[in-house]
Symmetry: D4
Subunit: 232 residues, 8 copies
């Protein structure tokens, strides 16, 4: 996507398809990004916009862009810095009025996650079952966010098995907003007999079979196996 008009055109198409929220992954160049953000807000005043810069801004860039995103009433500003720059997040979160969230895949223990939550690092947290080591600690992480009074988005990227676990996790807690759907579907559904797909209303439904609710196609799994670790 090379320029702002092309991007605006794409947004218009998606909105016609019924989308109500758009997250930008554009150039990660502050001035060019802002140009798009301003134009999008002017053309689509009622749409929810998020801006995700995939850890590519400097502190000074992020402060300036964040202040303008607040004025443009963006829904959130995602991943301005690498996730380990907790000090940078903390400072930015306290300085701008647009919600700040991280990529969410760096902190891997509950104690670090809890310190970040309790010290105002982000407006909303972000994590998932693969980051924290399974459903139990991810569950605790969401409950920790709830008791701290902040929201927590859940990453949804990955194979159907992982998405299913994350989906159950989200629905069992009350601090998440969107389900992240990896597209195109097929590569993420390899080796699965059951899959999770967004319906025509933009909703996903949790499978209601036992366990995670999705069955594995073991033959396909075998066919694609490269190496095998056995823990007896």
């Amino acid at each position: 996507m090379d320029d702002v008009p092309a991007y605006l055109e794409l947004i218009a198409q998606r909105l016609e398809m019924g989308f109500t929220a758009v997250k930008f992954h554009c150039w990660c160049l502050p001035e060019k990004d802002l140009e798009l953000c301003r134009a999008a807000r002017e053309q689509f005043p009622g749409t929810a916009f998020m801006h995700d810069v995939e850890n590519n801004y400097s502190h000074e860039d992020a402060l300036r862009v964040g202040q303008e995103l607040a004025e443009l009433n963006f829904t959130w500003f995602e991943a301005p810095f690498p996730d380990w720059d907790l000090d940078g997040y903390r400072q930015l979160t306290s300085q701008v009025d647009v919600p700040i969230i991280p990529s969410g895949n760096w902190l891997m223990d509950l104690q670090s996650f809890g310190h970040a939550v309790h010290s105002g690092t982000w407006t909303r947290a972000r994590t998932d079952i693969t980051c924290l080591g399974g459903l139990t600690p991810a569950w605790e992480a969401l409950q920790l966010c709830e008791s701290a009074g902040i929201g927590c988005e859940v990453l949804g990227w990955g194979n159907t098995l992982i998405s299913a676990a994350n989906l159950h996790l989200m629905l069992a807690n009350d601090c998440c907003s969107y389900f992240e759907q990896s597209v195109p579907y097929e590569p993420y559904e390899y080796g699965m007999l059951d899959v999770i797909r967004t319906d025509s209303d933009g909703q996903v439904t949790a499978p209601d079979s036992p366990g995670l609710g999705v069955r594995i196609d073991w033959d396909a799994m075998e066919a694609a196996t490269v190496h095998r670790l056995v823990f007896d």
Copy 2:
């Protein structure tokens, strides 16, 4: 009350009756609440307004609404979060310019109350004799607020006996503003020979009999007794 025009109509009626301050308990939905707040301020520029959302906002909602309430010159913003979310209150109080006060009925010991007061949790505190365990600790709580230089509203909800104690407490200290009158009167006056009512100037007067100054109708009390605990 279903919509903004109906609410505005009600406000107009009350102001004609001589009220000068109105506290909103409306929908606790940020966008709809703000719509009312803006309309009320525009129509009644000189009236004192408070907005009470009974612990129902998220941190992000409260920040956004609080900033606009400050611009609309509201007198206070009450109970955005549950009272135990002291961190959330502290952060909000430091970020918006409208006074922030809690519900006031969760902290039940002077040490916790004092920590909250001294760490800038609220712009004004809120408590009463039933929360803190009697007149003496409530008295100390108000003196603690005075020495910290912040105001303290006193809850007035409850039976006449409780209201009388709270009224004496308020008048003996210098950091309270309004007396909260439970209406309709009668259910809250059951079993009392003397009652406390707001006069036609919107003022209440403390009873000047000995003790709390209001006599109990013991026969009525007996008639309504369900269970009796005796401490010898």
Copy 3:
């Protein structure tokens, strides 16, 4: 129990019955308490002792007694101050080497509980399902202790229904040590068809029926009902 020799005699009897740990609830007078502690340690060098003073010591008493309990190798020092004196607990915990635990029945929300845990208030926490408002928040409290790396004792006092819930809670987490058994048994078992009792090895077993695993004797419950609140 009036004097030290009588208390020592009682300890000797219990140890013969197979007990291996004894918690003192003695006079709550520092000098007299210490006299017993010293005599008990001298006479029973291998027994686990806890000292519980039910919120009755001053800061200076507790520091002095705590230092000596550490030298006497006590297992813990319980409830030196009221539970709301978090500052006092914090200071004592940092000054003495014997583990410090509170009564555990004052903090009623996860945020306050979490602040206390994270600020080094106690060596081990203490709570239960009735303090925090049910199994879910109590579960979160124990997980919070685990992620902070500290133990959490669970109160066991109360009717069989409550004890059953607390017992399940303890067994499902890995940071508790003892089950507190209310004795004599009967008053705490009123209205129950199933009960929880310590076996001859000093162990209790969790009931394995569905739900909490203990059935209510509804006729007995009806017979003892004083008042009934109905929430439709």
Copy 4:
């Protein structure tokens, strides 16, 4: 009093008169003071001793002496530094195990007093009605100490009028230990018809007349008046 033996002789005499506690005001020279403290403890193992050095020690002296006073089991160590050296008090209090108290006549507002209490400046506070500006703020100061869980000694030095107010203050609160009696009596009783004197059991009794309970001899007051300020 020039040397240690003479001081020990004096202590022996006082203990025969029934005293059970002795506060030293000796040389304020660390080595010589310690010599007396050690000798006194050895000769009178069961007596309560306090050491008051009237703001004359350096930080290093106080640390060394305080550590030894703790080993000698002194009841308290008073006024090692000027009262404004709050940092010095805080550091000493956290380093030694003997209780540390200040002179108590420098802080004159509740906020400063409260900060000192809440930041662990002293083991026990010390103040009186003349320091804080009357009975009301002194009362609040004692309640503040109670809610913080620390003791507060009350200065007793001064004319009978002041002593009477301080005595009422002490008896109405529960965090004081000793009444300080100014001797010889007469100069402190000038202009009074009623006086406060320690009885043969070492106890003082609060006067039970109205007000402070002691009457002024206005003729004597007039006779001694130097200047008169009139506030109409």
Copy 5:
């Protein structure tokens, strides 16, 4: 001075006399005070204005007024709270952009003064030789302000002897702006052979005789002596 127009008239007169700065001591009622401040700024856009409310505002009043004074480009906002409300000052100083200064006559030791300076209590400090106990500690206080990079106004109110000492103090340091001249002159010059008066250019000159540079009229002093304390 009863109303805003009268006050504005007075300001106009003073400015014609050559004054370039005016400090308001008006009603200490937030709304009425602001009315004057706005009118004065509009009518006299280039004049330096200070607003002194002599410790009479609440925290909420001060925040609101301070924000508007910043917009009106006032030179400073003086004494919104009692000087002991250090927490209140600290909070206000960090929230508004107009310089905040205290009355300056409460803190009487260098350590407290230093803590206040180093913790951002005021934008500029304020003290004098009588508050801190003489020229030496006042000198140290000003040097302490210089090394902290903040200004320090010196109180000038008092007898010529005191004013002379304060004037020397100010001129020997580089962090003061105005000399405060007590008027009318005579009562403050009693008992002095030499006096300090503002010249026609609004400047005062330090006396260059030895010592403080002003001679005492001992006969006049004797004539007015009420009481005499002699320290041998």
Copy 6:
């Protein structure tokens, strides 16, 4: 340079020569400086401007000027205070939105430098090899800035030998923006056979010979030697 028009004329000339950024060293008088800043921004809306006041502002001046520089979209505000006023820098950096940088030649050890970086003292740090004692600690300082996520400008003033080392340092790290070129060239190139000069595109190129890449003219060095220290 006496007035604003002359300064604007000079800027216009330089921009015609191809410069795209201009750093002001003007009068260090807040009002006059701001006059220039406003005029320059109005006349040259797309140029990068820095304002360097060489440690000459008071805290109040810097706050006011910094706020306006942010509105004028300046690239940075340099050296408002002496470099040792770390508290002043910290406060200013947190209050204004224009990047704040120090002179950079006071802190001479990595620990102090690191504390300043980690406590938000500056928006961007500033140092060089002569301040920190050689290439190795300067290298560590830049890596420390990178891990903290902030930029670090490198001073370039000095003889060619020093400039060469600083240039290599800058190019080997990724947190610097401009090379500072001392002009006129010759005095800074004395005693060197190779020099570093800015090319016609405003770029400098690092020498690629071994070591620092610039050869010394030892005869010239000998000719100018005043004193010789020999360390065997």
Copy 7:
């Protein structure tokens, strides 16, 4: 190794072989571990001992054992808790006098590592090139420890390639003490033409060929390849 005598026998054998330091990996049961530690110190008073419990102690166990290890003059106490329990490490490090070090393989970014170092988490840090992502960040980590004045052990476990890089890292900095040699040698040397082995004096020598100084046996590498990722 089942019991203390067998362990002592093993230590005796190793010391005869010339070892001067022994690190225990024993039962991770506090009482049994201490029994060994005491016996070893008594039998070998001049030997350097380390105790490594591989993250298996509770906070209370670690405090008790750490205090005794300090008395037994152990060289360090390793990995009492999981590496993410930074709070637990910080508290233990401040409470016991034996040096505390972590496992060192959890923190993977310089900012987290730096926070831990600067907040007194460990007495000595521990990391290596695989934890932090290569030689460059590991180098920065060691320099960061040097500037903070603490030591940093380097993990040595792994294939020869990794050990070689870690060995160069250690020798190029001045804050490491021991080289950790994985034994038996062969499994860790697979696919290498050059290896690193401890000589008869217990020393290792860095290879002095170019690069890491050890050559890879690519044929052996190919033979053992399971899967191949190619980044073009």
Copy 8:
């Protein structure tokens, strides 16, 4: 000085000459240094000893040695770490009971010096007129120490001119203990007509001529001049 006996012999000689205090500059090897310290204390129980290790210890060494020096009742422990390791000093000062002082020649501005004093970095500070830039800031530094309640040693090393200024500085303040005399005398007295020498009682006397009180031999100064900087 190669071994402990030789050092003890030297101490014995000096004590016979009347010295009462000895500062060690020995091997800076912890074990060997401690051997001397223990032997010296045993042989000379009443002598004041200081141990100066000239910035050569690790944190762990310093903790261990400091603890033993406290038991050996040393007067102070000097320069365990480089002066810029403020964190290391702070930690050591809070952990050992022997007074800790720095070299004193690194901090060169009052703000850094004040932060170190106020954060408990050293037990006693150390500085002089050359470190801080003249008599005025050094004077302020000593007054700052006095108001913080800690001592401040003054370096005395240097030419007579510097020593004279330092001597006046020490005598005019009340927080210094020893005058440091550079010996042998002559090299430090070059170019002076008046000198400062210790008399037979180990005392130095301040010169009482005007100014610093010592006259310069300008001819000698000229004769030794290498280079001349002139500031007009």
